[in-house]
């Protein structure tokens, strides 16, 4: 028997104690890694949305504010079935300070052959659009022609593929970068294609809140304000100039959400910190109990000639192995529950949720593992330090 093998022998031959320690550290790693990834995903989702939303103002039908939460539309990408006269587009463009105005027409969710999830079709005007075009990640054709579509990242087709909607074959010309919102499952087409799809749906007996006969309707108008103009004043002007429509400043909305998100982040950060502190206390108690339970074993090792330093390293190796195993288990469990269910988390949070890139996740996982190992080592070093201050002769006499 070699002293260097002793920590591993102890771990293997005391499976109950080993499993309990591994579970404890796994719980710690799970909460820390899981909490960190959720906060990072929310922050990234909002940042992505903020940078993607090029519009300063969005004009929607007045009824939209009562029919669906406008915030939901912006943050979750759940488009509603609401429409207003296309005349509002002309009226918006007439307002001084409006540089660009891009209309969109929403068609409520429908099921396509491609996907297990419901998709939403959004009609855009490629000539005036400034919202979608800059975010086309991969594209084989620049122009969104007849029966061409651009798809969100969650739609299971790529650029160059064909997407079948209501028995109509649409050519996928581009795919968008992820947003962490419901817009990731949207399909964008021009207004003519939208009309053809509506007709095809009607031919199949499927009805929507809009028919192919309703011409010139729009669901929302995205407005870019000319530089040098006050967005608030332009917003008020649009509000006054359009009919049965509401103009909403996107920036103020995002600021609101950003504020609530930082509140959530703060809460999660505090919770994570509380879990760390609580776990450290629990680990200290657990290790103190274990060291106390094993004090005769350690005193015996001292009696046999093991120095304090060597005994400390035996205890530290045992702890490090347990902490590392627990840390890995915790990170893996958190990953199993977090990454396959991002859509579920996104919809239950009601906020943009965009998983961080792999290197950042790996870095977080490594930091979590390092944290659990360091905390475990600190806890065991403290417990072992307390014990080693007592002469082994006294410990062994305490029969």
């Amino acid at each position: 028997m070699n002293i260097r093998k002793l920590p591993f022998t102890n771990l293997l031959r005391k499976p109950g104690r080993t499993i309990a320690l591994v579970l404890l550290t796994a719980l710690l790693a799970l909460s820390v890694f899981g909490g960190s990834v959720v906060v990072m995903s929310m922050q990234r989702g909002l940042k992505s949305l903020e940078s993607r939303l090029g519009a300063d103002i969005i004009v929607v039908p007045s009824s939209a504010q009562s029919k669906v939460s406008f915030k939901n539309m912006l943050l979750q990408g759940t488009t509603g079935a609401f429409y207003m006269s296309g005349e509002n587009l002309t009226r918006t463009l007439e307002v001084e300070g409006v540089e660009k105005a891009a209309p969109q027409l929403f068609l409520a969710s429908l099921k396509a052959d491609c996907c297990s999830i419901k998709i939403q079709v959004i009609g855009i005007d490629p000539e005036t659009d400034f919202i979608i075009q800059p975010w086309i990640e991969e594209s084989c054709r620049q122009e969104l022609g007849d029966m061409d579509v651009v798809v969100g990242c969650d739609v299971g087709v790529g650029a160059g593929d064909t997407l079948k909607i209501y028995e109509q074959y649409c050519h996928v010309t581009g795919k968008l970068a992820p947003t962490g919102t419901g817009l990731d499952s949207a399909v964008y087409c021009n207004m003519d294609t939208m009309n053809k799809l509506l007709k095809a749906a009607e031919a199949k007996g499927i009805t929507h809140d809009i028919t192919s006969e309703d011409e010139g309707l729009v669901s929302a108008i995205y407005v870019k304000v000319r530089e040098g103009y006050d967005i608030g004043k332009v917003n008020s002007a649009i509000q006054g100039h359009t009919r049965k429509a509401s103009a909403v400043r996107t920036k103020s909305m995002i600021t609101d959400v950003s504020g609530s998100l930082s509140g959530i982040s703060r809460t999660v950060t505090w919770l994570t910190a509380a879990i760390w502190i609580l776990s450290l206390v629990i680990l200290l108690i657990a290790f103190a109990m274990i060291v106390n339970e094993r004090k005769k074993e350690f005193a015996l090792l001292r009696l046999l000639g093991t120095s304090r330093r060597l005994l400390g390293s035996v205890i530290r190796i045992e702890t490090a192995v347990c902490s590392l195993a627990g840390g890995i288990a915790g990170v893996m469990i958190a990953s199993v529950f977090l990454f396959p269910f991002t859509k579920l988390i996104e919809s239950s949070l009601g906020l943009p949720y965009l998983t961080p890139p792999l290197p950042r996740i790996l870095l977080t996982a490594l930091a979590t593992l390092a944290g659990t190992v360091i905390m475990g080592s600190l806890a065991s070093a403290w417990a072992a330090g307390r014990l080693s201050r007592v002469d082994p002769g006294i410990v062994l006499r305490g029969n």
Binding site: K14, L301, L304, G305, R309, G393, L396, N399
Partner: protein
């Protein structure tokens, strides 16, 4: 090698205040001689184990010194003292402590595996010696058995084998025969006696009068003070031959 206690004392506080000191060992001198069995008897709480632990480098005295070839054990740093204990001292603790999750053989060889650069008996020599000791103590068939499955008597014999396997210069045995039957008592005491043949100094703390038959020197402790009983201090050659 000569191990010598010079005016060692140990006291504990009972209640609050320095004046409530209880002297477990009063200022005491003791020399452990090579090749001799020193037996220390006395009533419970008389300070026998405390004195032995101080001699074995396990308990820091409150006064006096413990010298090994003139070097004060308690002036050494922990690493040096630990290595010294590992190389030169063997101990049978009162509670017959062993590591329950290791096998009998792993327990016996554990002291030899603590330091890579441990000089003296090699691992293979120690294993051979350990097997011989186990045979001598009639537990040769238990070498691969987990220590937690042993009876009290078997544990004590394993402790004796562990103390002797590394061929130490000093062996400290604290109540090595308590709870043992007559046969096992004889086995352990004989093995300890045999160790002195190679120059080992053995110190036995006991209540067992049987041990006196194996003693070269007999001390008695009363209220923390040591007294030598010269009438008992005669060679025990006949006992060695009786094994």
């Amino acid at each position: 090698m000569l191990l010598e206690a010079s005016s060692v004392e140990k006291w504990y506080l009972r209640g609050k205040g320095f004046s409530n000191r209880f002297f477990a060992v009063n200022s005491t001198d003791l020399i452990l001689e090579s090749g001799k069995v020193t037996v220390l008897t006395g009533r419970s709480g008389s300070g026998k184990t405390t004195l032995m632990n101080m001699m074995a480098g396990l308990l820091t005295p409150d006064g006096g010194k413990v010298l090994l070839d003139g070097k004060d054990l308690y002036a050494m740093d922990d690493n040096t003292l630990s290595r010294l204990r590992n190389r030169h001292f063997g101990m049978i603790p009162q509670g017959a402590e062993i590591l329950p999750d290791l096998t009998v053989m792993e327990n016996i060889l554990l002291p030899i595996g603590i330091y890579r650069d441990r000089y003296g008996r090699s691992a293979s020599e120690a294993e051979e010696c350990a097997r011989e000791l186990l045979e001598q103590m009639e537990i040769g068939d238990l070498s691969d058995v987990p220590a937690k499955e042993l009876s009290g008597g078997e544990r004590r014999r394993v402790c004796a084998a562990r103390a002797l396997a590394g061929a130490p210069e000093f062996v400290f045995a604290d109540e090595p025969t308590s709870d043992l039957d007559d046969d096992n008592t004889k086995i352990i005491l004989s093995v300890l006696r045999q160790a002195t043949a190679s120059g080992c100094a053995v110190m036995i703390v006991t209540h067992d009068p049987e041990a006196l038959g194996y003693a070269d020197i007999h001390y008695r402790m009363d209220g923390g003070s040591l007294s030598v009983l010269p009438e008992d201090n005669k060679p025990k050659e006949e006992k060695i031959h009786a094994i």
